[in-house]
Structures are given as C-alpha cells and as structure tokens.
Symmetry: C2
Amino acid sequence: MLIRNPDEVEAKTMQMPGAEGVVMRLMVGREDGAPNFAMRIFDVEPGGQTPHHQHNYEHEIMVLAGTGEAYSGDTPHPVSAGDVLFVPANEVHQFRNTGDGTFRFMCMVPTSFDCGNDTCQPTPGS
Amino acid sequence: MLIRNPDEVEAKTMQMPGAEGVVMRLMVGREDGAPNFAMRIFDVEPGGQTPHHQHNYEHEIMVLAGTGEAYSGDTPHPVSAGDVLFVPANEVHQFRNTGDGTFRFMCMVPTSFDCGNDTCQPTPGS
C-alpha cells in the first residue's frame, strides 16, 4: 500500500501548447506499478487554462477546489469543487479557472492507449 | 461530457460481508460508457468500516473528508482528507472511520478483471 499526500509530490509545469498557468502532480502512475490507470492532480492558477485538445482515450475527473469552466468542444459548463466529469475519448475539452483562487482537479487516464496487435503506447503523463 | 455531482447520485448501502455503515455512489461506471476504470465515492459513518478483504485488481483512492485508518493486512495507517492511496492487486485492505464525522473517499477500480482468452469479468461495483 502506498500512501502519498499531494504536498509531498513535485509539481511540474504543464508544457503542452495551449496550457497556461498549470502544474501537474503525478499521484499514482506507471512507475508505482499502476497497471490500468493513473491519478494526477492539476492546479490551474486564476486566469489559467489547460489545452483545448482531444485524444483517443478518456478522462474521469473530480474538481477538488475552486471554480472553473469545463469546455466540451466550444461550449463551457460551470464546475466547482465536488463535481465529477467523464470526458469520453476523442471529445475536444478544456478547463479554465474562472475564480480568484486555485482551480484544482484530479484527472484519471488509462496508463496505455493505442492498443492493438498485442502492443500499446504509454499514455503521456501517466 | 458528463458532469455529475455526488448529491445527484443514489447512495447504495454496501452489502458485502464485513461492511458496516458504508454507502457507495457510482459516479462514473460501465453504464456511462467508461471503458477502462470506474469512479466510486464511499461514505463510512463514524465507527463504520469497509470489509477486510482482497481481490485480484487494484484500487487508487483519494480521501475526500474525515479521518480514518487504512489497513494493509493487519497494519493500520492513519489517513485524512487529501491523502492518496494505491492498493495493489491481492493486498488485503480495509478502511475504518476513526473520526466523529463522515469518512469519505473516492475509490477507482478497473471496469474489468480476470482477463484471459479474450474474455474478462465485469468488476463488482463498476
């Protein structure tokens, strides 16, 4: 059993094009032996945003603190602490902090994608 | 994109032998089209506990509220809101509420297990 607090985990700046004011903590991932899915925590500073992008794997998300908007394509949806989201594979999505404090959310990804012919690719950030 | 608050989701009493004072909300699961993993929220009332059990798939967990103990085998570890846990497959584990308020945690499972010969079993509670 591994027990880890976010305060103990290094926050890495999200370098992906389109990301502004975002850091990521990999809470549980491939290097911990996670076989199927990885847990990350993202902090978006006020006015910041994640990339407006898509990929062929899903997210399951829980907002942990703050208020923001979750974009499905070009449509914003207000979200706040406690809300849970499912973003299916291939849906264009983005998160923007619309509040005055940090917008923190937990975001799960599968550890592998593009599986076929007995091979998979490691998911970025897993 | 699905957006859902725990207050909108039915809380079902955990009937598994050994569970005492536990309800579960399935936040994102197989019926939502989740292909790889499912998100559940558990509320354990003061003095309550989840089963002391094991299974051949992993958990990734985040404590959302309250204080409790996470048992790895027979060894208790204190945990509180914000802590993240990885419970590998086959490890005996249990959660007990040691506080005065609700002990709430989010617990992820793979949607399938016992995969082999091109078949899998649906994970209970996914």
